[in-house]
Symmetry: C2
Subunit: 226 residues, 2 copies
């Protein structure tokens, strides 16, 4: 089973509706481990991370996800501290290729993130330091998963986000064309393991199942093209 | 007089030969203020910065320089913490335009920082988050001042670095063509205010003065072109 490790940083995670939503989405998923860095430091009663433990978690994972709010176009300081203390060049040389993804929440509209927008650069360009890190560590960089203005998403958009997010955690940015098939296969499991809110969304998603099945059968082998 | 504020972060600054060199270079310069962030937190006996004080320092400065070693293609975590705690969008709206520069020390060779190199991206692209920050705050971004592999520089190269660095702190990335003239004008002052090591370099630089004067007179008005 593919193991996904989410390294998450948020200085006030209980007050973050987006992070709470994402945490609810993975609750009960055995193959996904979440490490909230601020909580780890608090629990340790230390200013520093346990490098040995953190590196062991990285070694075990097949897919490593950094999940954080975008503060000044970078991760929060505690995640940077984790990077500075834990990461090292020969971390994963003896293991098979790891996949490395970014889940980033952005408080402003996506149209600022373009040449000519007030930020002036696309988000993939702003995330280059993480891509360079992947290059140096020999990790396979995945297309970043970007969530703009979570607080303004409709319920329908949140349902779609839930599916996209879970798919990204289990499959990276590969095979996005297979997403709807995957969702149908996974639905039964989710119903048993998730929180009430997530289950309610899934019930609604199931109502769309017939529609999806029809769409998929119409598309057939053309599915790889969209 | 133009005021330059250097916000500097290094977790072990006394052991850093490059940071000690740069600190020696600005010692005694009245118009340049250095704030070493790790020392500030230690002196405060706090985990957090004094936002009011830090913002006041920013308000007073005409030129703001972030100076740091490149750790995983970003600043160290304490500088990120300073950014997260201190910076805010309307910080400098009432003041005249500020210039914003980056002085970054890099431990590896410059040829890694290209497409096809092991890092895979140029350093200016990796520094885009700081450029985006300048865009958002309304600060004028200066060409980053990058120091590769300080420990392997020859004495001659360090002399040149000293001049280039001081010039950058006082003039930003503008008017680099005027640098030699500026150096000659400033030499007399440096002799009285700097440490023994810096004075020794300046003595050597003065020996090159005749040569420079000759070069400048030959170049005349063509100086803007190089």
């Amino acid at each position: 089973m593919t193991k996904t490790l989410i390294i998450m940083s948020h200085p006030d995670v209980t007050q973050s509706s987006s992070q709470q939503f994402l945490l609810a989405a993975v609750k009960g998923e055995e193959q996904i481990q979440v490490r909230h860095l601020e909580s780890i430091l608090t629990a340790r009663g230390s200013e520093h991370f346990d490098k040995t433990l953190e590196r062991a978690c990285l070694q075990e994972a097949d897919r490593i996800i950094l999940q954080f709010p975008f503060y000044w176009y970078q991760c929060p300081s505690v995640m940077k501290q984790w990077m500075d203390e834990v990461l090292m060049l020969n971390l994963s040389q003896k293991n098979k290729m790891k996949e490395f993804g970014i889940v980033v929440t952005v408080g402003t509209k996506s149209d600022r993130y373009t040449a000519g927008g007030s930020v002036g650069f696309g988000i993939e360009e702003l995330l280059r330091p993480y891509q360079a890190l992947a290059n140096q560590l020999g990790w396979e960089y995945q297309t970043p998963f970007v969530i703009y203005q979570f607080q303004y998403l409709s319920e329908i958009q949140k349902q779609q986000l839930l599916v996209d997010y879970l798919y990204y955690l289990e499959n990276g940015s590969h095979h996005f064309s297979e997403k709807e098939k995957w969702m149908l296969e996974r639905m039964a499991n989710y119903e048993n393991t998730h929180t009430q809110q997530v289950r309610e969304w899934i019930v609604e998603l199931k109502q769309e199942r017939e529609e999806l099945v029809m769409m998929l059968s119409e598309m057939g082998n053309e599915a790889d093209g969209f």
